[in-house]
Amino acid sequence: MSFDDNLHELAEFVVNHGLSLGADQVEAYTLYGSAKSVQVERGAIRRFTDISNSGLGIRIIKNKSLGMASTTIFTRESIENCVKDAYELAQVSPPDPNFNSLPFDDKPSPDILDRFDQAVVDIDVEEFTEMILQSIQQAQITDDAIISGNFTTGYGKRFIINSQGIDRTSTQSSVGGYLGVKIEEGDDIGNAYYYDASTVLSKFKYEEIGKVAGERAKKMLGSKKIDTAILPVLLDPDSTYGTIEPILANGINAFSVFNKTAFFVDKIGDKIADDKLNISDDPFYPGGTDSAPFDDEGVVPQKLKLVENGILQTYITDSYTAPLVGLENTGHASRSSFSSGPRPAPYTLNIAPGEISKDNLLEELKEGILLIGSPIGSRGSNPQISAQINQGFFVKNGEILYPVKNTVIGSTVFDIYNKIENLSKETENRNGHQAPWMLLKDLKISGGK
C-alpha cells in the first residue's frame, strides 16, 4: 500500500499509529509538491527540471520527551518505520519540563486572495520558456552581456494533523525566477542580478527581471575602492526590507527571547528604534509569497503591530514558546523544511513610509553611500554587523558618482535601528514585503583604497 495519492489519509494514519504505539501526543506535517524549473546559461536555455518536493515530518511526545522523524518515501512500511523511529526517540530522550502541549485551534482559517492560481500549475514548460526568453531579451543590454539564471513554477499542498484536534489543509502556488547579468569592458566588470516571485502567473513580472538585472549590471561598471570613512547610507526598499527584517526576526522571536539571545529581550513597551520606525505583520496579505492561513503547527495567526513609533509592541510566539514568555500563541510557528521542528518567524512585514520623497533623500545626501538591492546583513543572534556592500554607489551632492567595491559596513543591529534618519513616503511592494527608502546616519564604512 502506498499513500502517494492521499496524503491526508497518510497524516491521519501517522497520528493514529503513533497513539497506538503509546505516544501521548502526535503531529504529522505533510507536504506534497512539485516544481518545474528552467535553467538559463550564457543567455540560452540549458535544462528543464521536473522534481517532486514531498515529505513527511512527525513529532511524537511521550512523558514530555520529544522524538522526531521524517521521510520522503511514502510506502506503508516506510511510514510505519518513521512513526516507530519518532516514538523510540521520544522514549529515550530526556523529558523537557517546559513542554506544555501540541496546539489546538478551532478558529476557521481565512481564505487568502491570490494564494493559489491554477494557471501556475497548468503552464506548459515550453510556454513558460517563451516568457523566460522575453526576460533574457530584456537583459541583453549589450551584445556580449553574459546572462544566467533560473526560473521555477510549482505548487505545494500542506496537511497538518495532530492528536489534539488540529486538522488543516492548504495549497499554494508559486512562480519565480532570477537573472544574473555580467558585462565586461576590458578588466572592468559590471555584475548584478534581479528576481521576482508571485503566487499568480499574471502578476509575475518576468520581463522586469531581465530589464532591471541588465540595467543594474551596466551601472555596476567602473566600480572603485573608496577610503575608510563615517558616512550616511541610503537604502532602496529591497535593501531596507533585507536589513530590517532579519534583525526583527531574531529580535522578537519568543524562542530566542526565552533563551536570552534575542536582540530585544525584556523590551516590550520600550524604545528599540528611532521614532520613525513602524512595522506590522500581515499573515493574510493577498498574494503574499510568505502569507499563510495558518502557521506550521496549524494555528491561525493574527495581524500584529510589532513596532510603533520605535516602541516594541509584542513578541511572536508558537505553541511551545508562548507560555515561556507569558504571551498568547500568535500563530507564528515556521519550519525550514518538513524535517525541522517549528520556531517563531514573521510572515509578511509592512515597514511604514515616512513623509519625504525618495528624490529629496538622494538630493540632500552631501556625501554617502547608496545601496540598491544590497541589504546590510546581520548574522543570526550576533548583534555585531560587518557586512560587505554588494551593490552600492558613492554619492556626492546628491549625484551618484560610481559603484564601490571591496567595501564593508561595520555597525551593530542596535545602531542600525537607532540611526534611522528618514524614511521615504514612497514604498515598494515585493511579493507582499513592503518597505520605503531608508536613510541611516553615520555608519563606519571600511574601504579598500
Binding site: 530522550s93 530526556p94 566588470i189 524535517s339 564593508v408 561595520g410
Partner: protein
C-alpha cells in the same frame, strides 16, 4: 538495484552523442540538539529516490521520483528524455559528454566503529555534558547548545557510456555553540569535530574540556577590544585560511562557472594568479575528512586536484560535462546533495599547502595589522571576483608582536588580488575549517585548510 538500473539503461536507444544516467540515492541520519539544558531536536531523517538525467541534442532533461520500482523508473527515464528533446530547440551551445570516461567499482567511507551500533544515551551524553559544562561556567553564558549528527548515504549510478558505480558515504559530527552576553554586547564561539568515518572520529571529544574551553573563550571575547576598520595586513590561522581559499579561490575554480562565463578565473588557465610560493590543492581522497569521498554523484572516481602550483592556475573542478567542454580530464567533482538534485562542480577538501615560516616570524614581518582566527564562513560572487568571510576572534599585531584580543569581524577582498598579495606562508597546514558549502540551493560537507597565511590589503569591517 544496480542490476535493475543497468537493465533499464541497456534498453534505451540513444545516439553516441547523447547521454543518460540514472542515480539511486538513499540516505538516513539522525541528529540531536541540546540547548540550555533541554533537547529541542531529537530527530531521525530518511530520504530516498531516483534521479534521471538525459542530455539529448545538446539539452538537459532532469527528473526525480521517490518510487524505486522498475516501471516507475522507466517512466522517469522517458520523461527526462522527452524533456530534453522538447528543450533542444532552445539551446545555442554544443553540449555533450565524452565516451572516454567510464568507471566501474564500489567505494565506501571506512568506518572503524559504526555509529549505528552506539546507543543513544552515549551520544546524548557527549552533547549534554558539553552544553552543561559551558552553560554553568558563568552567568554571562546566555545560551549553550551542542549537537550530534550522523548521516549514511548510498548512491548507485549507471550511465549509457558504461559507468556502473556504487558508493557509500558516512559522515559524523559533534558541534558546540556557546553565546555570551553582557548588556547589548554578545559574542559566540562555534566549533565542531568529526568527518567522513565512524564513531572513532568523535569518541575522543571530552565534553567537559570542550564545554569549558569555549565558555572561557566567550568570557574573554566579551572583554575583548572592538575590531578595527579599513585596509590592513592580516595573518589568518589555518581555519581562516581554509575558508579564505574556499571562498576567494575555490568557487572561482568550479568549471561550470567557467563555462557559464561567471568566474573571474575564466581564461586564466596556466597563468600566474598568485605569488610563486603558493600551492593550492583539493583532495577528497584524504581519509576521514568532512569533504572526503571515493566516487562523485556522476560515478567518477575522485582524485587529488592541483588548483595552483607555484602561483600558476593548473586545474578546475569538473563534472563530466565541463571536462568534455573544456577538453580536460574529469576529476570527480560532480557532487549532488541528495537524489532530488543534479550534480554540480563542487569542492571537497581544499587547502593551501605548507610554506616555511613560524607564526612569530610572520607576525614580525607583518609589523602592524591583525591576526584573525576561527572562521564563521563566508560567500563569494565569482563573476565579480569579490568575496567576504568572517572570523570569530582575533588579535592586534603591534610592532611585530601579537597583542590584545578582539571580537568577531568580517573581511572583504578581490579574488585576483589576494593570492598575489600573499606575503607569508606558515609551516604546517591543518584541515581546520569544517564547513557545509552552499551552491545553487545544495549543501555539501567540505573542508578548508592551510597553514597560517599573511595577506596584505584586505578590508576589515570593524567599528573602530
Amino acid at each position: 538495484m544496480l542490476d535493475t538500473l543497468e537493465e533499464i539503461i541497456n534498453k534505451i536507444q540513444l545516439s553516441n552523442r547523447d547521454f543518460l544516467d540514472i542515480r539511486y540515492g538513499y540516505a538516513m541520519g539522525e541528529s540531536f540538539t541540546v540547548r540550555n539544558g533541554r533537547f529541542d531536536s531529537v530527530s531521525n531523517q530518511t530520504t530516498g529516490g531516483i534521479a534521471v538525467r538525459a542530455l539529448i541534442d545538446n539539452f538537459w532533461g532532469f527528473t526525480t521520483i521517490v518510487k524505486t520500482d522498475r516501471e516507475s523508473i522507466l517512466k522517469a527515464v522517458n520523461k527526462a528524455m522527452k524533456m530534453a528533446r522538447a528543450g533542444s530547440k532552445y539551446t545555442k551551445q554544443e553540449r555533450i559528454i565524452g565516451d572516454d570516461w567510464v568507471f566501474e567499482g564500489s567505494g565506501s567511507t571506512k568506518i572503524e566503529i559504526d555509529p549505528r551500533e552506539i546507543d543513544k544515551e552515549t551520544k546524548f551524553d557527549k552533547i549534554v555534558q558539553t552544553e552543561k559544562t559551558a552553560r554553568e561556567y558563568s552567568d554571562s553564558i546566555v545560551e549553550a547548545s551542542s549537537s550530534y549528527q550522523e548521516s549514511h548515504s548510498k548512491e548507485i549510478i549507471v550511465n549509457n557510456k558504461g559507468t556502473k558505480v556504487s558508493n557509500e558515504t558516512h559522515v559524523i559530527r559533534l558541534i558546540k555553540n556557546i553565546v555570551g552576553r553582557q548588556g547589548v554586547k554578545m559574542q559566540n564561539v562555534f566549533d565542531s569535530t568529526g568527518g567522513a568515518g565512524g564513531w572513532e572520529l568523535v569518541e575522543k571529544w571530552d565534553p567537559e574540556k570542550e564545554g569549558l574551553k569555549s565558555a572561557i573563550l566567550v568570557e574573554k571575547l566579551l572583554m575583548a577590544r572592538e575590531p578595527p576598520s579599513g585596509k590592513m595586513n592580516i595573518i589568518m590561522d589555518p581555519s581562516l585560511t581554509g575558508v579564505f581559499i574556499h571562498e576567494a579561490f575555490g568557487h572561482a575554480c568550479e568549471a561550470d562557472g567557467i563555462i557559464a562565463k561567471n568566474s573571474i578565473l575564466e581564461g586564466k588557465m596556466n597563468k600566474q594568479v598568485g605569488v610563486e610560493g603558493i600551492n593550492v590543492y583539493d583532495d577528497p581522497t584524504i581519509p576521514n575528512l568532512r569533504g572526503s569521498f571515493e566516487y562523485d554523484s556522476e560515478g567518477t572516481k575522485a582524485r587529488k586536484r592541483t588548483l595552483v602550483e607555484n602561483g600558476i592556475l593548473k586545474e578546475y573542478f569538473h563534472t563530466l560535462e565541463t571536462a568534455t567542454a573544456l577538453g580536460m580530464e574529469p576529476n570527480g567533482s560532480g557532487r549532488a546533495m541528495n537524489f532530488n538534485v543534479a550534480p554540480q562542480a563542487r569542492m571537497g577538501n581544499t587547502y593551501v599547502d605548507n610554506g616555511d615560516m613560524t607564526l612569530d616570524e610572520i607576525a614580525e614581518i607583518t609589523k602592524n595589522g591583525v591576526y584573525l582566527k576561527d572562521s564563521y564562513g563566508g560567500y563569494v560572487v565569482p563573476a565579480k571576483g569579490q568575496f567576504y568571510f568572517t572570523c570569530q576572534l582575533g588579535y592586534f599585531i603591534e610592532n611585530g608582536e601579537i597583542s590584545d584580543m578582539m571580537g568577531n569581524v568580517g573581511m572583504s577582498g578581490m579574488t585576483l588580488e589576494v593570492l598575489q598579495n600573499t606575503y607569508a606562508i606558515g609551516k604546517e597546514w591543518e584541515p581546520a575549517f569544517e564547513g557545509t558549502c552552499g551552491k545553487g540551493g545544495q549543501w555539501v560537507p567540505v573542508i578548508g585548510g592551510g597553514p597560517n597565511l599573511g595577506v596584505s590589503d584586505l578590508v576589515v569591517g570593524g567599528t573602530n
